[in-house]
Symmetry: C2
Subunit: 309 residues, 2 copies
């Protein structure tokens, strides 16, 4: 069972961070990650790797962290617990490309343990997801992206893709705009062991999600990085990044939770774009590519079928 | 008592919006406000006036609204009420100047009524405030701004300025950055009648706060609008605007509440800047004007004395 210990899981996450950073540097061909190691006063710490002004990636980060200690009061309240030790480790990524034709990507995979002081029963679960936010939605790219995720899910359970895709649609949603953040992806949380799944099976799934990230984004970059764009497309990108900021600061539970419980602000807000613009009540003209994208920012689109038509 | 009726108050707010828009157009000398009237499905509506690309103001808005109906569930929960009618009217303003040497200003003044269905007792109160967010803090300007506010407060009660200035320090605070949003100002809420104050006295105070806005900002513009600046100061402005976005989307109760309860998104988010930038873990060098400003983003600074030394 040692290969399912928290230190084994954490080591794997740390190695994944390393592999992805290498992969992104190779794909970008310009920028390099800068590393910041940090310690959490209450226990643990992390290794933040930030990226700026590459050939393809304008700003982004690939973060690893392993934190533990007394559970912050806000988590205890949310779980109706009095006192507990917690342990959390994982990798989280957001990348903002320079070219508006290349989509923004996000991935987070994590392992969580909670041991209430009164009982000795340790609770554990996995959580995470990958989602894509194109500035301009290309149905073929969207179909490709979802197909990659579905293939990973299908290797583990026939219910996974359907369930986790819906979860992403519901999670990556800007209620105040009645818009999804992008074309979604998969999102899952509280994956523990039960009659149907062992811990080893859950972990294998999470690992496979982590491993699909680099080849998938590499392909999406290759498909789009040389597409031409001008001032109009840049302005639209800045505007769509404004929505990304709105989602992360208003709705994203992980961000709010991190800021509320004294997480490392610069690592949490590495998800924010290099530049975002707002203009009052802007509506792109009907029939424009920008308008077509807005029309597709909806839940419950079958991207795999849509991408094949 | 008719001059304290909700319709009289609302009319006064509407007229204040009108006067301030005229005043700002005259000071700006370039841009014009564009008006959008909107209706709230549950009752009432508003008159949003937005401004873009003037000579002095790059983006901003002066909003009036008068909304009423069944109280949204979130307010009921916050007030531990089962069912109630509410009424709210007021003016809210945020202005983002083009020149980084001119400060961002915010004002909101409002009147609120709540009538629980079970009792017939109507509750009412005033709330609001003015605060200033300089990109570069000039102690003389800060002293002038706070002196204006103190003079208004002192005309009404000797305790007001001290109390409301502290309230602003606590309210306009980015906990995750351990920074105030700017140099604060005054903030107050739940001002009702009691042994010490009648409704007429509270209202007169709120009116005086509203009336001090235009002459105060006019002076601050005149003092700074012709100051030279370059790319460095613009970059700092974009960066400080990022903090403004963080405050409004993460901490501002009014914004969160409006977005949560189905308010008019474009009017609520008119407070966001035309452009904001983020860069990972940026720290200005010691001794620079940017660093000096950061050092002053603290609570409990006596700006009036600091501005006179």
């Amino acid at each position: 069972m040692n290969n399912l210990s928290k230190s084994a899981l954490s080591k794997w996450f740390q190695n994944l961070q390393h592999e992805i950073c290498h992969g992104l540097e190779a794909v970008d061909g310009g920028g390099k990650f800068i590393e910041d190691k940090w310690q959490r006063p209450g226990g643990g710490g992390g290794r933040t790797r930030s990226f700026a002004k590459g050939n393809v990636i304008e700003k982004g980060g690939v973060n690893f962290s392993e934190v533990y200690g007394n559970t912050p009061q806000k988590i205890l309240d949310a779980l109706s617990l009095e006192q507990a030790d917690f342990y959390a480790t994982g990798v989280s990524i957001v990348l903002h490309p320079e070219n508006p034709m290349v989509p923004i990507i996000h991935m987070n995979i994590r392992y969580f343990e909670m041991t209430p002081s009164k009982s000795k029963t340790k609770h554990w679960w996995f959580g995470g997801g990958i989602d894509l936010t194109p500035h301009y939605i290309d149905p073929a790219d969207a179909g490709f992206f979802h197909k990659q995720l579905k293939d990973v899910c299908d290797r583990h359970h026939h219910s996974y893709y359907h369930k986790f895709k819906r979860w992403a649609d519901d999670y990556f949603f800007l209620k105040h705009r009645d818009e999804t953040r992008g074309i979604g992806g998969i999102f899952f949380d509280r994956l523990s062991s039960d009659d149907a799944f062992t811990k080893a099976e859950r972990w294998k799934f999470v690992q496979d999600v982590g491993l699909i990230f680099m080849p998938t984004y590499r392909d999406l970059i290759a498909r789009n990085k040389d597409k031409p764009y001008g001032e109009r497309e840049k302005q639209w990108q800045f505007y769509r990044r404004g929505r990304y900021v709105e989602f992360n600061l208003v709705w994203d539970k992980g961000t709010k939770f991190g800021l509320d419980t004294g997480g490392r602000t610069e690592s949490i807000l590495m998800s924010l774009p290099p530049q975002a613009n707002w203009s009052y009540n802007f509506h792109p003209g009907e029939g424009t590519p920008e308008h077509q994208t807005l029309q597709k920012l909806k839940k419950d689109i079958n991207w795999i079928d849509a991408g094949n038509t």
